[in-house]
Every structure is written in structure tokens, then in C-alpha cells.
Amino acid sequence: MQLSEAVGPSGQEESIRLQLEDLWRPFTTTMRADAMGNLIAMQQGSGPEPRPAVMAAAHLDEIGLIVTQIEEGFLHIAPIGGTDRRVLLGLEVLVHGREDIPGLIGTRPPHVLSAEERQKTVPWEKLFVDVGLPAEKVNQLVHVGDPISIRQPLLTLENGRVAGKAFDNRASVVALTLALEELAQREHAWDFYAVATVQEEVGLKGAITSAYGINPQLAVALDVTFGKQEDDSKIGVFELDKGPTIGLGPNFHPQLFQRIEATAKELEIPYHLDPTPGASGTDAWGIQVAREGIPTSLLSIPVRYMHQPVETLARRDVERTGRLLATFVAGLESSYRPGWEDEVDETAARSDQ
């Protein structure tokens, strides 16, 4: 869970990737980073060649901030990905300049605001980071375009809950790591590719290129979904500690869905169904249309307060996701390929008559 505190805003995933390489090395046959910075670890299967490949993707990047302008030592900022500016005030941050510099996000005190201003969310152009240094020192250390991450230690709550700044999607990276660990001990016929993708939060970029590069026969994306909160409507939110969600809809191959659901039942892992009528907003959406098309599925871990520095989840859901993925992969027979109902019988075509 240290992965939650590691730093990796979209496009700046190198330092966390290096940490992950160390973590994954004992469990993998080969490992490489591709041109986009995706970490691709392969665990060789035991089936006969040519061996099919299954790819599991969890994005490594987190939302964050970027320096847009430096004015008298204060840093103007903009979001990287869907950062929620309502919750930025008063946060501690790390500015990744020439060195990592602690800072904070300040705003004008309530005393000097008009009644109307106090009711409003502070717009991006009025938010700034203060690193406490004199302007000339700031100019030496920080440049426009430097990323800024939220500085928020992991918080262990009661009842197996934890909170952190980047459980979207480090929770899934942990689940993927657990699956790698488990599959290192278990026989599996297929080659298993664990992929920590980059730049998901800015448009599923790493998933698109890594799926193209690996060209797997199947893929499972791992991500987070909306955990049920006190103030929530009943639709599209999922209770914590009741297992991962399995995506259902055009983004997901129906037979793959059925197989994963059956695996969950067999393991007696609780799960929710997540109806998704179109774009899932996850790596699964990018992977599915790589090359000739890849049958894809999605497991999501319910997380409360998404895109806020206090993303909260139940640890057991992460473990369940890892176990479900590992058992699904281990259960793939060499000859398995998901097909379609009423699939074309080749002999139906004229040439074979």
C-alpha cells in the first residue's frame, strides 16, 4: 500500500514505475517498459506454443497538478486529469521541480472575502501553490510544466478501510501485484501480461499503445468505481467490502463476463454487476478496439470520494480482485477463445459447399 503514497501524475510515471519494477521482478519471466512508459511484465505460461496471451491492465498514473506560471514566487496551477478543485484548499503538495519541494495550496482568508465570494468554489486562476521560498530561489528550482502531486499519507481506518490520495488506481496496481504473486505459484497455460499503464487519466493513452504492442487474445482492465457514500443515490454506486464490480455492456465480451462471473461464484467472492451502456471510461475502452479487436472485461474496486485526496476503500476488495483475476487466468485452457452466440459456421459459406 506504499504505492498509494508514491508519486506519478499522468505523464510522470517514471519514479513509481521503477518502484514497481522492483516489486514485480521476483514474479516475472521478462519485464520491459515500452516507449510510452507502460511497464509490461510477462509471466510465461505452461501451455504449448504458440501460447495465447492474456493482458491485465491497471493504470499507474494519478491525477495531479501542473505549474502554469510563476509569479513572485507563487505558482499558478492547472489540473492533470480530473482533479477536483473543490477540495484543494489547504492541502500539502510536493512540487517536482529540480528537487522535490514541499508546498501548500493557499487562498485568501475568509475575513477579506465578500459574502458572495465565500459561497463560491475558488476558480483555477485564483488557486496558487506557496513553497515558502524567495522568488529568485523559486525561479531556480521550479519551471513551468513541472508536475505537482498531493502529499497525503496513507490513513488506516477502522474496519479494514484505508484512505489515500491515489487509490485510483493504485488499488488496482496492488490487486494486479497480488495476482502476479499468486500466479507465480500456480500453473497457468496462458502467458500472463501484467501491464501498469500510463496516462489513463488523460485519455487511456497507455492502454491503447500497450494493447497494440502486446496484441493479446484476451484482456482484463482493473480500475476503481464509485463506492456508496452517505449522500448517494442508489444507482451506479457500490457498497464497500462487498467485492469488486464486473462490467456488463458493449465494452465487455459477454462470454468473458460469464466466465469471470462463474469464477467469482466458484471462489465465493462477492461481486456487484456494473451495467455500462457505452464508454466505460477505463483502459478497457481503449484496449477493446486495439488492432483487430480484443475481447475485454473489467473488474473495478469500489472507492469513495474518487478524485479527492481521501479516496477510501475496503482492503478486502483489493485482495478479492487479485484473487479473482489470478484464478480466472489460471483457469484459461490453451484452446479457450471467447466466441459469439450463433457464431458463423464456416461451412455455411458458398465456397465450402
Binding site: 442508489k234 451502456p277 479487436g293 471467447p338
Partner: protein, 326 residues
Amino acid sequence: MNLGLLTQLTQAFGPSGYEDKVRALIQEHVAPWADELRTDPLGNLIAYHRGNGKGQKIVLAAHMDEIGVMVSHVDKEGYLRFTRIGGVYPLHCIGSRVRFADGTHGVIYLEHREDTSPSPKLTQLYIDVGATNKDDVPVSVGAPAVFVRPLVQQGERLISKALDDRIGCYILIELLQQVQDSPHDLYFLFSTQEEVGLRGARTAAFSINPDMAIAVDVTITGDTPKALPMAVTLGDGPAIKVQDSGMIAHPKVRQLLVDAARKAKVPYQLEVLRGGTTDAAAMQLTRAGIPSGALSIPCRYIHSPSEMVDSEDVANAIKLLAAALA
């Protein structure tokens, strides 16, 4: 006009991602005329006509999927809440019936509202399957459904749900029979998931890697009361795409279709569509780029359960394409 086939096509169940029944139906009709048939990882059906080795490799694409709804929640009284599959408008839903894959029917209606002036939101609508409580509901969360509306022929007009784009599927099925002597390698692509982002055509075009791609889909018209200005009229001929909000048709593809219309002596219109696009937009950007265009069937009330086309436009589209591929 083979009204029986068009009835089967329009009434088949096939929301995006769940095209199996449409595919099975089309497969049955194209199998006697295709040299090869295959279904790919996204569920696209590809029927191949082998040319004489001197022609080009051409994709003709029509999408099998239709818009629909998907159950998102079942309450304890047995009412269903839903989300949309593709571009479904709340106003079209009220009073409509939907049908699930298992044959269950539901009525869509609207919660009581004190202020009826704003357009209703999808979240204010529900599906009533006649259940008395949650346990009585025969379908579950995640179940997709399509609108119910029969095919009607009235004079030259055809009215049905899902003419977008089963009319394109119909045209391709008829066309395949007429181009048996074509010198070209023709790939009749019955694509999936067009309505949720041109997904099937993208991957099929990658695997086929053609020299040219033509989508056959519907387009809006400008001939209804207070319509947005649009120089396409129902019954004035198929519309050759110049541009839409997703692509500019390749000039050579457009010219090929214009020349074919003249050769076949069928009327045609030129289409500039400001909102909406077709599978051609996805195919155009596949691999190193594929010259792409589209032939559109003028259609009123697109994405409502009562879409209307003209059967002469359909017949002329088949003639035009047959001439283009001869």
C-alpha cells in the same frame, strides 16, 4: 422490395454489444452468396466476395446494432431505472414500449412532476414491466432492451424502429446478390457497436486493411416542419456523403459514387451533415489511412422509435452501389 426480410431485420433484437440475433439472421441470408464468412472478436460479421484478382479491396459497412436502454436499478416495488445505449432521447421514451432479450415487455413512463416545463431527464423515467415487487421482475440489472415498433409500409414510405441501420444491412444483403460478377474483392461488413462510438468498424477495418471503405447508413433530412436547413429530402435519391461532423469523405470515393449514380441513371443528393457521423469516420483513420466515404439513406426521425425512409431511395441505393462495384 423484400418486405419480409426488412421486417425480420428491423424487428430483430440488437442493441449495441448484443447483436447476436441480427448477426444470425444476416448470416442466414448472405451465406449462399458469400465466398467466406467470419465473425471477429468484436462480433462483426464479415461476408467476403472474391474478385477476379484485378480489382480493388473494398469494404462496404452497415451497422447491425441499434440504440436501446439498459437496466441500472430495480426498486422494491418492481420498477426499473435505466440508462441509454447510444443516443436515446427522453422525450421519445415516454409511452414507448421496450422489449428485453428474453421477450419481456416494459412500458416507459415519467415520474409525476410539479413543474412540467423543462424537458424530462432520463433519470425521471422508469420502466414498468407489470411486476408487483422486486422479486417479480423477470430481468436483472445490466439487461439491455430495445424499443418496440413494427415495420409499416405506406405508399413508398417505410416506418419502423431500427431503420438506423437495418436499412443499410438490407441494402448490403441485396447488393451482395447483385455483385456476384464484380471484379473487386468485396468485404460486406455488418458491424457492431456503431452507436456507442464506431467500435466494430474500427477493428474490422484494421483486420481487412482495404483500399477503400464505404459506409451505408442513414442521414437526417431537411424536409420536415421547421427542420434545420439540410439539402436532403426523403424520396429524392440516396445521399452521397460530402462531409459530416466526423469526417470529410475522400473526394475519389465521393466521385466514384456520383459517377455510379449517373451510370445507373438514379437520382442522388449530396449530403453535408452537421451533427452525426458513420462507421466511415473510424475506418478512414485505420492503420495508415483508408480512403472512405458513405452512401446515406435519407431518414426522418432518426433515433426515435419511428424512423421513416423511402423505398425508392433504398432501391436506388442498391442500383447505385451495384454500378459502383461493377
